[in-house]
């Protein structure tokens, strides 16, 4: 399936070692692993810093378990390597995928690359914190509220 990364409208070539399913990876922990959406992200914790690629799977685009896996990997476990979405990955999921910390995508949907380039600009405000570290509306409101007081204190 074509692979996309931000910054390129066209599919890019997959580089690096092929990801191993979790069971095989546990026996021979290489730099790339592929999780089923029922696998526990915790299983990667021992060798997380050596991992360069984690692939998470969407068996159907309506099955959202991998969003939670992504947030646990990024937010709780601090994984900083490539996080790839594969399976049923459609352009309308992109705002959610990006917010959960995915940064590469396998999709055979036409127009996916163009949609990816625009996905971050669809919503200029967000209500909830996630793995893209955008300032939430609540935070922006607090800043707005506090600023005059802080200026006065100076």
């Amino acid at each position: 399936m074509p692979l996309y990364r931000e910054g390129s409208l066209q599919p890019v070539d997959a580089t690096g070692p092929a990801p191993l399913p979790l069971e095989e990876w546990l026996k021979a922990p290489m730099q790339a692993v592929s999780l089923a959406n029922t696998d526990q992200p915790d299983a990667l914790s021992m060798r997380l810093s050596r991992l360069k690629l984690v692939v998470l799977h969407f068996p159907k685009f309506t099955d959202g378990r991998a969003y939670s896996q992504a947030r646990l990997l990024r937010g709780r476990m601090g994984y900083r390597g490539e996080l790839r979405a594969t399976g049923a990955v459609l352009r309308d999921q992109l705002p959610f995928l990006l917010r959960c910390g995915f940064d590469s995508f396998e999709s055979d949907q036409p127009g996916f690359g163009v949609a990816l380039a625009r996905a971050r600009s669809l919503f200029s405000v967000v209500y909830q914190g996630a793995e893209d570290n955008r300032a939430t509306v609540a935070l922006l409101r607090l800043r707005q509220h506090r600023q005059p007081a802080e200026l006065a204190a100076d």
Binding site: D63, D92, Q93, P95, C100, V125, Y127, G129, R141
Partner: protein, 557 residues
């Protein structure tokens, strides 16, 4: 100046809403151009409230915590007139449904909603739905705290939540701030009940895994007392556990109630608490200033002092028996003396429950402007509520509502029926609901008789998905299809009152459509014969049991 005494949007809310409208417009365009398959489009339209029904698309509009300004209600009337047939249907989830929307018009309709800070986001689909609340919130005499502050915090947090937009199934949250639970918190995926502990602090009892549908369950307490500022951390923990472990192999077993049932409440608590422990000190903890700022939006309206007793009201009570009955059933105590909460009954004899025409909506908006601080509520009983009416103004409000056909003195009575849209509109239904409600309503139209019968909740669903809440009706009626014939199963003794929440018991074989009125009449006669002083129908049922009722029903049908 905001024209409301509830949450008013700022530039951030408006920006998000307009960006959402544009996203949806593009999605509809791609669907019409054939770039999206119906399968791909379905969850996109659903999370914008667009449902495909029997005859047309239906647009389900969110009315967060059931609170509306008169301006918003007028806009709903205008949308119904422009894009529908000039009427709408208020639902048990405090939403408004327009039943005849064209796909091409849907983006313009939601753009019109956005003009008055309203939306249809997440009113359908496998997402966190519109959070419902006590329809008397902010006005009720028995209230500990206004639950809408917390509903609004949930609304913002859950809107386009990146992690929870493809849940196993829909997810409904209800919040109450009163000991008398008017939000039915034990029959929601998550119910939050504000209460005050022995130290005088208020916090939430967190109830999880309630729901009706084909497997009705009463929610269980997962946390007895949760500090309020940790609400979002706890909800995120519950949702994450559900998103990861909720069943996805079977649509009918995908709600969180099944997960709770299968793993047990202890295991559920263990999972949720472990997740919560890991995130509770994160940014999800609510800043006191954030809470204060949102709470300030809900500051009570500046109600001038008005006399608690009015000579005109007392005189009219003696002269007009219907007005006296209306005062009893359709007005409730306000926290301020000199005011009452008025319920406009959307159930005049023989009418489809919850329907209102554009003209009627505008009429209610006018009354709200003149007499109720420009504010209107939608109740889960499918009525409209004027929350702040001065006692002195009650006669004028009564007359104005009567002019609209909304002054039927039947709130809480046998004709204040909850019914789902049923086979007349819904693709899932097995049987009609609205015509059954209409026939019962006509049969019991006499107001004096209704008041003699007293409080009696009749709830009708056209299929086992239970949108009409039949499981928790004092009398529940469920439409079933037997070889192409519509039959109705009767259950008794359901209840949603807090502490008494119960699911009704089925009394026996289903009854033919043309005998349902006789069956209900037999139930009522049995109650009237057997009741003790001051005993409601449901109390009598609990005391004497199902047998006498059963006997009379099957003798009558």
């Amino acid at each position: 100046m905001p024209d409301t005494h509830f949450y008013h949007y700022d530039k951030y809310d408006r920006t998000l809403l307009s960006e959402r409208v544009e996203q949806f417009r593009d999605q509809v365009r791609r669907r019409l151009a054939g770039e999206l398959t119906e399968e791909q489009f379905k969850p996109l339209r659903l999370t914008n409230g667009l449902y495909l029904q029997l005859h047309a698309y239906m647009l389900r509009i969110a009315i967060p915590y059931g609170t509306l300004s008169s301006r918003q209600l007028r806009q709903l009337a205008a949308i119904a007139r422009k894009y529908d047939k000039g009427y709408g249907h208020f639902t048990t989830r405090q939403n408004l449904q327009l039943n005849w929307i064209r796909l091409e018009d849907a983006p313009d309709a939601v753009a019109m909603l956005a003009e008055v800070d309203m939306h249809s986001i997440q009113t359908s689909g496998n997402v966190v739905r519109n959070t419902t609340a006590d329809h008397f919130a902010g006005a009720a005499a028995d209230e500990i705290e206004d639950p809408r502050v917390w509903c609004e915090i949930v609304r913002q947090w859950s809107t386009l939540h990146p992690e929870f937009s493809f849940l196993p199934r829909k997810f409904k949250i209800a919040i109450t701030g009163s000991p008398n639970d008017r939000a039915a918190v034990r029959i929601h995926d998550v119910g939050l009940r504000l209460w005050r502990n022995e130290q005088g602090e208020t916090g939430f009892e967190v109830i999880v895994g309630g729901g009706l549908g084909r497997t009705p369950m009463i929610g269980k307490t997962v946390r007895a007392f949760l500090p309020k500022d940790e609400m979002l951390a706890y909800l995120e923990a519950v949702l994450r556990v559900y998103n990861r472990y909720g069943r996805r192999d079977n649509l009918f077993k995908a709600r969180i109630k099944i997960l709770v049932h299968e793993i047990g409440i202890e295991k559920m608590r263990e999972e949720v608490e472990a997740e919560y422990a890991a995130i509770k000190d994160s940014a999800l903890k609510l800043d006191p200033q954030t809470i204060e700022a949102i709470a300030a939006h809900f500051a009570p309206p500046p109600l001038p002092h008005r006399p608690a007793i009015s000579g005109e009201v007392e005189r009219l009570k003696l002269e007009e028996p219907d007005f006296a009955l209306w005062l009893k059933s359709n007005t409730a105590p306000h926290k301020l003396a000199g005011y009452r909460i008025v319920t406009a009954s959307l159930k005049p004899a023989g009418a489809p429950p919850g329907d209102a025409s554009s003209v009627q909506m505008e009429g209610v908006a006018d009354i709200a402007d003149a007499y109720s601080q420009s504010e209107v509520r939608v109740s889960h009983e499918q009525n409209l509520v004027l929350p702040h009416v001065a006692v002195e103004d009650l006669p004028a409000v009564y007359r104005a509502l009567a002019g609209l056909g909304f002054a039927e003195a039947n709130v809480g009575k046998i004709t204040d029926i909850i019914a789902c849209p049923g086979l007349d509109y819904c693709a899932l239904a097995n049987a009609r609901s609205i015509p059954v409600a209409q026939r019962i309503s006509n049969h019991f139209a006499n107001l004096a008789r209704q008041h003699d019968i007293g409080d009696l909740k009749v709830k009708i669903s056209g299929c086992i998905n239970a949108c009409g809440h039949h499981h928790v009706g004092h009398i529940g009626i469920l439409g079933v299809d037997k070889n192409g014939v519509e039959l109705y199963q009767i259950s008794l003794g359901g209840d949603v009152d807090f502490g008494k929440t119960a699911l009704g018991d089925i009394i026996g074989p289903a009854v033919a459509a043309d005998r349902i009125v006789e069956a209900v009449d037999a139930l009522v006669r049995t109650y009237l014969d057997r009741r003790e002083e001051g005993e409601r129908f449901v109390d009598a049922y609990r005391r004497i049991g199902v047998e006498p009722f059963k006997e009379s029903v099957y003798a009558a049908v």
